[in-house]
């Protein structure tokens, strides 16, 4: 073993201590790897902040956790009254209430992620300008919190399916990859939009309107089969159409998902996610200067 020169000794970091290098931001794809490792080191913050999101939301409210149920239930009631009492909507052989709730549930999950996380960085500007932590934790905690709400809502769906005697088939296992794709797509957009919102505040303002339009452009309150063939092309461009429709199909109809549209949604989600993350990390470096 050769002896180290004085210069090498000086430039050698302490053994066993992490060395961090702060450099100007770049689009180096290796950033995903190092950022992911750093995120892993901060997992306790992710857990604590997510718990905090869930806890704080219902503190000092009388109904508390019931609010996680009230929202999708109320929407379900409204749409059921409109589309099965006022006018009739085809529901593919199941009661309309179950039919609409089975799509409202994943839709609410997605739209909650979008509306909350678009403004999350700006809302935490006090934190961002004072402390360093991987900023992607902020949108991630909103995904986790929305997922907890989703699980609570899923209990109601399970109850409704038992009540209306809707049989469950092994195809329901497809729900797992469907939720993974939906989460990945939601997270990708959340990362992208939250970081844009830092410089262009119009994003957060436009979000509720965009989500409203997007919901009616997605087969939530109506089945995909009711869409005229000439409009199907637009539905194929909407990755949520395939995802939400598949969610309902595998659960209520006991059929496999529509493979082509689900595959398309998966590809879009998993190509978008690393790109969005890279973009987020690139902009993260100067976030505190603009916020």
């Amino acid at each position: 073993m050769r002896a180290l020169s004085a210069e090498e000794v000086l430039s050698t970091p302490f053994p066993g201590r992490p060395t961090k290098n702060i450099r100007p931001p770049s689009f180096d794809p290796w950033r995903i790897w190092s950022a992911g490792r750093e995120l892993l080191r901060y997992r306790d913050l992710l857990v604590t902040l997510s718990l905090h999101r869930i806890n704080v939301r219902y503190k000092q409210s009388i109904l508390g956790w019931a609010w996680a149920l009230i929202q999708p239930l109320a929407l379900m009631l409204i749409y059921t009254i409109i589309f099965s009492v006022v006018t009739r909507m085809p529901a593919e052989g199941v009661p309309y209430a179950v039919f609409v709730y089975a799509a409202l549930l994943p839709w609410t999950y997605f739209s909650t992620i979008m509306t909350n996380s678009a403004t999350c960085l700006v809302n935490h500007s006090g934190l961002i300008t004072k402390v360093y932590f991987p900023r992607e934790i902020l949108p991630l905690t909103y995904v986790v919190a929305a997922f907890v709400d989703f699980l609570v809502g899923a209990l109601v769906l399970a109850g409704m399916m038992v009540y209306y005697r809707v049989p469950v088939t092994p195809y329901a296992l497809y729900l797992i990859p469907i939720m993974v794709v939906l989460s990945a797509f939601g997270l990708a957009l959340a990362l992208f939009l939250s970081v844009l919102q830092v410089r262009v505040r119009d994003i957060g303002l436009a979000m509720p309107l965009v989500m409203q339009i997007w919901m009616f452009a997605t087969p939530v309150v109506y089945p995909l089969s009711a869409v005229p063939a000439r409009l199907r092309l637009y539905y194929d461009m909407n990755p949520l159409a395939g995802t939400i429709e598949s969610f309902r199909r595998v659960l209520l109809q006991g059929k496999p998902p529509e493979y082509s549209s689900f595959l398309e949604a998966s590809i879009i989600a998993f190509v978008l996610l690393p790109l969005a993350y890279l973009f987020f990390k690139y902009r993260e470096a100067s976030m505190a200067d603009f916020i």
Binding site: F14, R17, K20, N55
Partner: protein, 409 residues
């Protein structure tokens, strides 16, 4: 071996909008502003230095020197425009206490929240929980939402979490001035304890605080390092900087300088020029002026600005009701004060020649003076005073006593 190394670090800010109130109203104007060529401002220019393991480095400089930018870069809050910073070991920044506190959460919940935001693991917090609560002295209220806390309790809890970080490198801002006197002492003791174990970088504009804590000082000005070395030399570098800073004095441009301040000197009780005095010492200020023409009815004003930028005190000829008639040519005006009332700290000086409300000359931040603690004086300022003791039996002698010299404090 270094704990911290900055290698030609520069930071550029692009400013598109000077004032928030000046935001354009129309859509087109807004778009034009967004895509306009931004104003470029270099907050840091080619800064390089190393901090060795176990060293305590102080960084001082006037406002706008780039101290806060440097702090943000070291803490990882923002990235440099060019250059590289290498940090070896765990760095913790005490920039603002109570970062990430949420009013609805209880004390305990906030300890976990703030602790993890500052980079601790949950297990680590659980291990230190008792220490953190006791240090803050809020044990009875630990299960109460923080919004019910007094502001002092919040600050104490916030500092307590931050003080238990156990970093390899501790980045300190001016956060030591929190809580009451007893808690402040606890904070300083804690920092001193941390200093024995870790590398400290202390960023401040309070020279006295830096001198107390650091062995080495970097003086910054306009984004550059202008001095790097022992604490003693930093003082004179900082003073010289304040004296020669070419900041335009406000409101004087339109008035021709018929009279000008040439120099300003502080002189102690023994008649020696000084840059450092103690609270309660005698002090004289000698101002040398040069008048181009005869200036009747002139008055002289000296302002003392504290490190916080607030005006702490003024010396003036104006209040005496008498004015100075300056003849053409040079001259000297001397203020003297038997017992200085200013509390310890460093002060920046403005000197002004005034005539009927027109400032003939305004020397902006033309000198600095360091006031050190004399005897430990509490309160906002020291007030010269005398005292005497009287026993009942000697009340009869009252009249005699009144004539006798009193005891000086």
């Amino acid at each position: 071996m270094h704990a911290l190394r900055l290698d030609h670090v520069s930071k550029r800010y692009l400013i598109r909008q000077a004032h928030v109130d000046a935001a354009p109203v129309g859509l087109l104007a807004r778009l034009r502003q967004r895509f306009a060529r931004p104003h470029v401002f270099w907050a840091l220019r080619d800064v390089s230095f190393e901090v060795g393991q176990g060293e305590a480095l102080g960084i001082i400089g006037p406002n706008g020197a780039g101290k806060s930018t440097l702090l943000k870069l070291l803490a990882g809050i923002t990235a440099p425009t060019s250059g590289e910073i290498a940090i070896s070991g765990k760095l913790s920044a005490l920039l603002e206490v109570g970062s990430g506190f949420h009013p609805e959460l209880t004390g305990i919940e906030n300890i976990y929240l703030s602790g993890t935001i500052l980079g601790m693991q949950r297990q680590e917090i659980t291990d230190k929980l008792d220490d953190i609560i006791d240090f803050a002295g809020v044990r009875q209220f630990i299960d109460v939402p923080v919004k019910r806390y007094s502001s002092g309790m919040v600050v104490r809890l916030g500092f307590s979490v931050a003080a238990h970080l156990d970093p390899d490198i501790l980045l300190l801002d001016e956060v030591l001035a929190v809580g009451d006197a007893a808690f402040q002492k606890k904070c300083i003791d804690r920092v001193m304890e941390l200093k024995r174990r870790s590398t400290v970088v202390f960023i401040s504009h309070d020279l006295a605080a830096v001198q107390q804590l650091c062995d080495r000082v970097i003086v910054m000005n306009q984004g550059q390092v202008i001095y790097d070395g022992a604490t003693a030399g930093a003082m004179s570098a900082y003073s010289a900087l304040a004296r020669f800073r070419a900041s335009p004095p406000p409101r004087t441009e339109s008035v021709a300088k018929t009279a000008e301040i040439v120099s300003l000197e502080f002189i102690d009780g023994a008649g020696q020029p000084v840059q450092m005095v103690k609270t309660g010492d005698a002090l004289r200020i000698r101002i040398q002026y040069q008048a181009r023409v005869a200036v009747p009815d002139a008055s002289f004003i000296v302002f003392f600005y504290g490190a916080d930028g607030a005006l702490h005190c003024q010396f003036t000829t104006w209040l005496s009701g008498e004015t100075a008639d300056l003849a053409a040519g040079g001259g000297i005006v001397e203020f003297s004060c038997e017992e200085l009332g200013l509390q310890p700290g460093s002060y920046l000086i403005d000197a002004i020649i005034d005539q009927h409300g027109n400032h003939l000359d305004w020397q902006y931040r033309c000198a600095t003076i360091q006031v050190n603690a004399g005897r430990n004086v509490k309160g906002l300022f020291y007030h010269p005073h005398t005292w005497r003791a009287t026993s009942e039996s000697s009340l009869l002698l009252e009249e005699n006593l009144a004539a006798e010299p009193r005891n000086q404090v």
